[in-house]
Structures are given as C-alpha cells and as structure tokens.
Symmetry: C2
Subunit: 132 residues, 2 copies
C-alpha cells in the first residue's frame, strides 16, 4: 500500500499548511465564503475548493448555502482528538521549563558561592553516514 488514508483522518487533514491556514481563518470569523478564503490565501479557486473538500470530509469544517455562496464555518469539535493527543506531551515541556529554571537558579547559586566561571567545551563526534 501507499500512503495511509489521508483525507479520512484529522491528523492528515491538518498536515497541509494551507489547510491549517484555512482553519485559522475560520477561527477568526464565524463564517466565510469561498471567495473570501481565496483572497486571504492567495490560492487559485480550485485549490481552495479542494482543500475545503478535504476539511469537509473529515468534518473539520461545515458548509451551508447562502444564495450562490457557500458559507464555511469551523467545526472545532473535530480538532479535539489532535488536542487530546498532543496534550499528553505538555508535561514534557512544562517539566523542561521547570528544570531549565531550576538549573538556572542552581547555577546562579553556585556562581555566588564560588565566584568563579568554568567554561566547558566538549568535543562532538558527528554521526557518520553509511554511504551506499
């Protein structure tokens, strides 16, 4: 098989930068028609319609007709799985931040105590490529 089901999965839908832009735009205004999006994105109309098609298919956006316009709105509920998944890693950068702060404080304390600076430079070995 080739690539995993792209258009049937939120994670894949938002893997496309343009589609993220669309989502961002729809987060700012309750509703936008396609022409508005075309202008904001600076993409040709079919490209925008296709991206909207993908977002529609996974349910991240919803449409309703208004005359000849189609008004798109965000359906944020469908983004929640992404949030839920990434949320699990929040602790990592929180902790990291905490330990950076901690380390900084420790260093400051040491500086104060010792009144001397030690610059450490360790040589770095490069990961060699295996060649073909």
């Amino acid at each position: 098989m080739a690539r995993a089901a792209t258009t049937s999965d939120v994670f894949n839908a938002i893997a496309e930068p343009r589609r993220r832009e669309i989502v961002d735009l729809l987060a700012l205004e309750a509703e936008r028609d396609v022409t508005e999006l075309i202008l904001k994105l600076g993409l040709p109309q079919p490209a925008v319609s296709k991206h909207l098609g993908v977002l529609r298919k996974v349910g991240v956006v919803a449409v309703h007709k208004a005359g000849q316009r189609r008004l798109y709105r965000l359906n944020p509920k469908e983004l929640k799985p992404v949030h839920d998944w990434i949320q699990n890693f929040e602790r990592f950068w929180t902790d990291q931040l905490a330990s950076i702060k901690e380390a900084a404080e420790l260093k400051a304390k040491q500086r104060a105590a010792h009144h001397r600076a030690a610059s450490n430079q360790s040589p770095r070995s490069k990961e060699q490529s295996h060649g073909r």
Copy 2:
C-alpha cells in the same frame, strides 16, 4: 508539484498513526531500542526503522548508540508547534461545553415554566452530487 514537504514537517510526521504510536511508546519509557518498538508495534523491522527515520529527520526523536542497539528517546520540544497551534482552538470546545450546559439549563427552566413540549422537525434537503 505533488504533496507538500512531508518528512520535513512535524505535522506531517505525526500524521502517520504508526508514528504517533512510536511517539506514545517513547513517552512512556525514557528510552527504547528498536527491537522493543518492533515488538510493541507488531510491524516489520524495516518499517519501524523507516518511521524512526522520519521522526529523526524532523527531530521528534533522538538516538544514541549503545553497543549494537540504538536507543531512541523522545524530543518533545519538537512537538510543541503542534501543541501551540491546536491550543488556539481550545476555547472553542471549552465554550461549546459551557453553552451546552447553559442551553440545558435554559431548556430545563423553560420546561418547568411552560409544562409543554414542542417538537420541531424541519425538512432537510440533501446535498446532491453533481455526477459526471
């Protein structure tokens, strides 16, 4: 052009369910070697190595050698852009939750006040396909 730069972007890297699994596994243990991942994932070795290659390329995981094993660890920092992006939509489901609760309370109040039920059913027009 075909698809946007896939393996050079965190969003694309985590678009693959298997790669998310790998990330999840590395979040549970500080370090794992490839064999461990192979067993946990139930995928053939080359597949796992390739997925690890992608994650490595975007910096989501880091490796270091230990004998003939390669120990992989998570580099959560690289996941932060995803978190930051999706975070912008948190308010939506928070708000939605709030308004659902609100609506429920309102409805309850109305029920109490009016003591009557009004079932509204609006006819729905189906989106027709254009066919070719």
